[in-house]
Symmetry: C2
């Protein structure tokens, strides 16, 4: 489908809406805005617009819809599947300047924010007043708009769910410029089809999120983390289901393996305490009293050491230990990126009981294809981040091996009832695999929904489906 | 739109699918199957089919789609808005015989069930093995299929959310008979538009739920309830936000008022302990240790008595007390129904900070219209159940007063950002109010979605939109 190229008249119009300073014309667009965090997909917009409020967005969309101009929304650009890359050119609609926190309603326990507010700013803002926004995706400089658009997950999904579970309401500008409101401050809602839930995870293809109302809860007073070494990967991962159904619900169970950990250690120039074991679980609990988390620690320590073959249990209790352990975990993606020239990611989610078998398969595939495949993952929720590394491969070999490898990885995941993406979305890069996963009938349903919301297909074209 | 009437050939076909015994022809259909729990909407099907498996449903839908026959799904028929009433005749597809629990997966903490399994049976089944399905709608004999179709809420929504939050996967038969699967056992999922979430709350208009995979968590070891009397309604309700943001998260906060309580007491022939106060909050906490719930009780008792004007705090600790208090709460709807000839319900949800003002408005309206309007509600989540009672009104007066009254009630709720339905859905009865709430643009989006899923409009026609 051909979109209108942006001409002088269009530029004048956009300048009249967002102002001269916020209109970046093609020749001045920086390379950073032609790709996302992973840099596997690239494409320049014809114009890069920094928007400041919802009215500007409405006016831009009305115009774009009338003139058949493609519009791609971008927040911080921290995505990994090319969702914010304007592969068809047109407008790059940048919401990063819409970063106001609009209202903290302590009585209804909600936070109203603009889409460009960063995840880390939300945490800082609400935790100061002893409130808690629980979703905890690794990338803290992502915008909340981006998090909602991909239904971002994070490390606390076992206990607290994902972004979807924390969005009470959305204001959305539709493809034709109309402003609509889904949900609100209400705790329950059974009033017609949940357009809010349809918008969440739709990666900018159905509408533009211009405001979100988030759910908050009281900040848990006590938190504790444990670093639990095991003799090998299998022992560590096989312990996970037993820990979760052992009558204490952790906030997070992350899996660390020596072979991946070394990237973080090199990258950070810092070693994990007690780093001489093959595999670890990093487990957290939270609660309202010290006694209740102490109880959790006691139960899980006893279980791990006496029944599940753990070598030891280290309490991550000092500030320094906390920092070193969680920064090692947090630096994985950056560290793996820094270890090679190019990476591509498989963000599968599978039932947690199939992780061991899946990682064995991954190791086998790595040998078979002669490609390095480091990984890490949320052992508690079955969401794995598996990276193909280009290293010294030629461009052709890289393309070839990733095509073969990804297809095998996803097909294996589907055998277990797994999904293409646990939290990073489909974007541009994973569309073929989504089709493999859901099949033609569901793709047609999704296309019908897309057509209903965006009949001219101007919103983030060629993404998701 | 005209649907095909069911003729002899159709009957023969349906008998060939579900068998003679499970095919009830028009002349033999019982009156119970022409209405739901509330009896405000009525309509007989042309044929009542008890289905036993998903293949039967697929075959029925293929046939119905080819022959333009309307199909309405029914579980236990405990709805309150006519969603399961076949207002256009055709097939009543009864899933109540599909009540097998298919798989308890302790390691992935999921329960796979057929749609006709009753809510009470799920609770019994999982709690025996120390697991917990948290949604707690009042009507325990509802089917899980019905609960999912209305996104049922219940009393534990403050802490645990609603049905939507506990559905990991769905198998659905589409209008054309195709079987599709949304989600699964996975904890996270960012793989395309969330068709699962679109299906939840769609009240049988987009597809037929033939299997559900539910999320479970470890059963909280300790629970405690408190009955807290206040001098009046306003004091009780205004305490609620302070209790919730007072750094302990209750599982439930229910509101009881003397004037409503008397219906329950009369209906049950049993008095609440300490029943001589104007208004009460009934608050619950749960946790993994006795110490942690004791802490919650201490914090909330201190807060209520010393800062929020509570008269006293009664621990609902003996089995007998628990039974009498929760049965009084549980019997409200039945008791109000028994107190009059006909009722109609307003199931609004509003921000919890607006409940006092909303109930004042309700009292005023009751006087103004000279109609009795008892109510009760989930004070913690802002979902109120407000009943118009016909008593001795003529049919004309009843129609007139409910039309005027409901319009006013909903419009008032919308002023606060409230919604038509917190948990009972839109069905047939509340369609006009949904339109008032969401406006034409969203109705058109919903219609587009409906057309995508059910182009011939045979699935539960004339419901929701």
């Amino acid at each position: 489908m051909a979109y209108k190229s942006i001409d002088k008249e269009d530029v004048l119009f956009f300048k009249s809406i967002v102002g001269e300073k916020c209109t970046i014309e093609k020749s001045n667009i920086e390379v950073d805005f032609s790709h996302d965090e992973l840099q596997t997909i690239s494409g320049y917009p014809d114009i890069h617009l920094y928007v400041n409020d919802k009215l500007q967005i409405q006016n831009i969309m009305k115009y774009a819809n009338q003139h058949n101009i493609a519009v791609t929304v971008r927040g911080s650009g921290t995505g990994l599947v090319g969702a914010c890359v304007p592969v068809n050119g047109g407008v790059l609609l940048d919401t990063s300047q819409m970063h106001k926190i609009l209202e903290l309603d302590k009585d209804n326990m909600t936070l109203r924010v603009e889409p460009g507010v960063l995840l880390m700013d939300i945490a800082n803002y609400v935790e100061k007043v002893d409130l808690f926004y629980a979703p905890d995706p690794g990338e803290k400089s992502a915008t909340i708009g981006g998090n909602i658009s991909t239904n971002a997950g994070g490390m606390r999904a076992i206990k607290y769910g994902v972004t979807r579970d924390w969005v009470r309401g959305l204001e959305v500008v539709l493809a034709n410029g109309e402003l609509v409101s889904f949900g609100g401050k209400v705790v329950k809602n059974s009033s017609g089809y949940s357009l809010k839930d349809l918008m969440i995870g739709s990666e900018g293809t159905l509408g533009i999120i211009v405001e979100a109302t988030l759910k908050l809860i009281p900040l848990p007073k006590e938190t504790v983390s444990l670093l639990i070494p095991f003799e090998n990967r299998t022992n560590a991962i096989d312990a996970v289901p037993k820990i979760i159904n052992g009558h204490t619900l952790p906030t997070a169970i992350e899996f660390l393996e020596k072979s991946s950990l070394k990237f973080s250690e090199e990258y950070l120039g810092k070693k994990l305490p007690n780093d001489d074991y093959e595999a670890y679980l990093l487990i957290s609990y939270d609660g309202s009293t010290k006694d209740s988390v102490d109880y959790d620690v006691e139960v899980v320590s006893d279980l791990c050491v006496n029944q599940l073959g753990a070598i030891d249990v280290y309490l991550v209790d000092t500030e320094e230990r906390k920092k070193s352990v969680w920064s090692a975990r947090g630096a994985f993606l950056e560290a793996i990126k820094a270890s090679t020239s190019l990476i591509d990611e498989c963000d599968v989610v599978i039932p947690r009981t199939n992780i061991t078998e899946y990682l064995d398969f991954t190791h086998q595939l790595s040998e078979e294809l002669e490609i390095r495949i480091p990984y890490f993952g949320h052992a508690g929720d079955g969401n794995l981040h598996i990276y193909f590394c280009k290293d010294n491969l030629s461009d052709d070999d890289w393309l070839n091996k990733t095509n073969i490898g990804f297809k095998k990885m996803y097909d294996k995941a589907f055998e277990f009832g797994g999904k293409v993406s646990g939290e990073h979305g489909i974007g541009y890069a994973k569309r073929a695999y989504l089709k493999d996963q859901v099949g033609d009938i569901q793709v047609e349903l999704m296309k019908g929904i897309k057509k209903t919301f965006d009949p001219n297909n101007i919103l983030n074209p060629n993404k998701v489906i």
